[in-house]
Amino acid sequence: MSSAVAEPELAAQFEATVRRKDRIEPRDWMPDAYRKTVVRQVAQHAHSEIIGMQPEGAWIGRAPSLRRKATLLAKVQDEAGHGLYLYSATETLGVSRQHLTEMLIAGKQKYSSIFNYPALSYADVGTIGWLVDGAAICNQVPLCRTSYGPYGRAMIRICKEESFHQRQGYELLMTMMRGTDEQRAMVQESVDRFWWPALMMFGPPDDASPNTEQSMAWGIKTHTNDELRQRFVDMTVPQAEALGVTLPDPDLVWNEERGAHDFGQPDWDEFWDVVKGSGPCNAQRIAHRKRAWDEGAWVREAAVAFANANDEEVPA
């Protein structure tokens, strides 16, 4: 968008800010490519929060205790809140929530592929909290120091809530493991389904992730996919042991020398299939979101009409 007129001084300032690990703020000059990358990443993150309401949201109505129902309802509500902050961050760059929602519904923007896997039992509510929110936190904690100010500040708030959700999920699984044999089997079955998709959440291996380098140079991203994946595995293995579940990876073993776990690779073909739209729930998730958005159109229109009418009545 910016004209061809070079602005070397502004560019130098931008570079210096990023190098100092200071924040870029909405009114600061920034390269177009940086702006686009931030918008893309924040939008994808916002969409993930909103689409991510669906798999867990489907279980609110069936929560097996009133306490768990309240916890789950509040959690899914928090996800809506996260979506709200993140869309606000894109709005600081002049991109509206409405526009982004339309892009999402049209299939032109992505969200985290993990939400294309179905939530098939109440144990999945716990597993999503433990593994999916756990992986999200590994991805997101470094983003609290991301170079774009509004995004970084949104992440601080989000990460705090996500850790809370992660602990809640883990606690649900812990409780279920102290319950009946059927409950323990439900937990194991759920972990079996979510382990590999959770590892995929860090994105493809570094050698297949072309955007990582530029994003790191700009301070948008601060660690590579493989670094974060390793961190997640090392963090999760002892939790799985404490819980009493088996992680479904025969290659998972502590490597004394590296001081880290060796582990197998997810099925990257499956990963790309899901990214390309063939996951178990891609169509369902978008259809659900589209339906809600379309059915709400008359309400949003009424709100706009009402606000406009009031603006006219009350002179500025």
């Binding site: 069936r62 309802l73 979101r289």
Partner: protein, 236 residues
Amino acid sequence: AQELAAYCLQLGDDALILSQRLSEWCSRAPDLEEDIALANIALDLLGQARLLLARAAAADPSLVPALPEGSPVPPEDALAFFRSDREFRNVCLVELPNGDFAETICRVLVFSTYRLALFQRLTAHPDAVLRAVAVKGLKELAYHRDFAGRWFLTLARGTEESRRRLEAALAQVWAYRHELGDDQDAEVVLEQVLATSGVAAPGVRPVSTVGGHTEHLSRLLAEMQVVARAHPMGLW
């Protein structure tokens, strides 16, 4: 104590069932702000339901359904998840499917206006627990009523379509208003909201509620209770 228990059960069931209906909006509301607000209302009502069901169980333990020996299910959950539809004491109004956003707004408006007026009186109830529930609920219900009232006005004054939907929705809800009892205070408030919005009170006949419930409750409970009932010895 039996009378108190029955009363708490009735108030608790109203809150529980409406909460269940409102939570169906989750991820489906017209925009994120309403998604969050409806979840908030559902959460408040769920909180009221838990306190009231627990009070009912304490006041008359014979109300609590029997579970297998050693079941860890607490009384509030036994009441919520192990009663049959015939044992629920809620009004039909809260069982009805959500319908569109206008129907939800009208239901929340009418329900919370009546409940607020009732809770104001309950702050003088002889039972200390019920009194505490009422005191805590006042602020919540005022928020629910105001949220619904603002949207009522917005839809009334918004577009032709929103006006049409609002009036149709109000007529549906109005036909169940008699279930909430005669309440001058609530009626005055509703009249004001309608007058401010320029909407006439619908001239509808009250729907008969012989039978006690609608066909919708048993379906609602089929969903709500399915996991809990599959695991009567479960720990959650």
